[in-house]
């Protein structure tokens, strides 16, 4: 199971707590994790990445194992600790605005 930590507003939308667990078929990448997340929680479609282009929304960031993955290729395998469920994959709202 892949662990995903969502920002508070998306937890409210998805009616979940701070962390969700999802089944993701290998390879474990940003794309496959988000695909599985959106199947399980369809109300999140369009809120993390664009419906059509699948581009990350500008004010969101992706963190894994204390590294910023926001600008990494979305088909690049995530760290083994995320793939094994030892560490969560973070979707984080960037500090922007006031």
């Amino acid at each position: 199971m892949i662990r995903v930590i969502l920002p508070p507003h998306l937890r409210t939308l998805a009616h979940v707590g701070s962390e969700v667990s999802i089944d993701v078929a290998a390879p474990i990448t940003i794309s496959t994790v988000l695909d599985a997340l959106e199947v399980q929680y369809p109300m999140l479609r369009g809120t993390i990445r664009d419906h059509d282009t699948l581009q990350r929304r500008a004010f969101l960031r992706f963190f894994a194992c204390e590294e910023d993955w926001s600008h990494e290729p979305t088909d690049k395998p995530l760290p083994e600790n995320v793939a094994s469920g030892k560490e969560p994959f973070f979707v984080v709202g960037a500090i922007a605005g006031g």
Binding site: P7, H9, L10, L13, H15, E38, V39, Q40, Y41, P42, M43, L44, R45, G46, T47, I48, H51, D52, R57, F59, L60, G93, A94, A96, G97
Partner: protein, 394 residues
Amino acid sequence: MSKVRVLVGTKKGAFILTSDGKREKWDVSGPHFAGWEMYHLKGSPVDPNRIYASQTSGWFGQIIQRSDDGGKTWHQPGTPPGETTTPPGMPKGESNKFKYDASPETGKPLTTHQWYDGTQHPWEFKRVWHLEPSLTEPDTVYAGVEDAALFRSSDGGKNWTELPGLRGHGTGPKWQPGAGGMCLHTIILDPSDPGRIYIAISAAGAFRTDDGGHTWKPINRGLKSQYIPDPAAEVGHCVHHVAMNPSRPGVLFMQKHWDVMRSDDAGDNWREISGNLPTDFGFVVDVHSHEPETIYVIPIKSDGEHFVPDGKLRVYRSRTGGNEWEALTNGLPQANCYVNILRDAMAVDSLDECGIYFGTTGGQVYASKDAGDTWNPIVRDLPAVLSVEVQTLA
């Protein structure tokens, strides 16, 4: 006994204010969708418990919410709470998908509009400014969006389809964003003619369709805007809001960037009715529900100073369809007040004695139960108010 429900969208959530027909004691519920910008909420005229809401965020984008019980509970259309699987053939999570129609069938490229620097810029969806439920079908609702376009859902908000004839009619490349973005903020459905819809865009102007949204034409003749190279151009005018009394659907009132305007021929021609207003800049305009020649505006000092003039919050009423205006001040602050009233933040009820409501950027929602003669705040300390709509319930 009659009841009134006021739907308030704010910068940080939605609030629902309810009262009986006396409009003296109010219950306040909210914040709904706390922390989100709630641009607009509006109920279906044929099913008042059906309310649509536009929930938006710079971080997470656009969400459409729907209530089927008068605002007690909400869900994203097509994705009810607790339902977390996606059955085959039933796409979910589509209710926030606003995809511009660029299909070849439209016969138009539909790709760019004018940007601030005069160059052409691609259309990019940002948010829904206004939701207008159908007058006859509770599952049909229109959405006015930024960048300016008109969408329609006929399945209760689950799926949205653009009416591309508006952007494709020819003047689109000349539209440009105002300071608040290039938004389609006003949608008026003609109760006497199902094919006729009026819309308004900042900064493009007003437009009308007579065939249910297939074809459109600009209706800006008579508008004069000194901030564009040709003050009387066909498009490019920063229309802030348009209002209509349903009993006279061919008569329209407009608050433009500057100038209060009137049309008696469904928008084909406009004439100025600013008259003795202290300033004719402003955002809101509305019409008394039973007296179609009684109209309301709230003058704002200028385009550079978006607050009421002289520190005084004054609603202006004309009982003559414009030009002759009286200040309504009883119950409103008359010193040290510097709020703004945004374009969708005034509404009227339809009780025998017409109630008028407006919300301010200071978080007050004021109500008058006597057509504007006296005012009282329903609430004083909400987040900045973006929109106010009223439902008059049996």
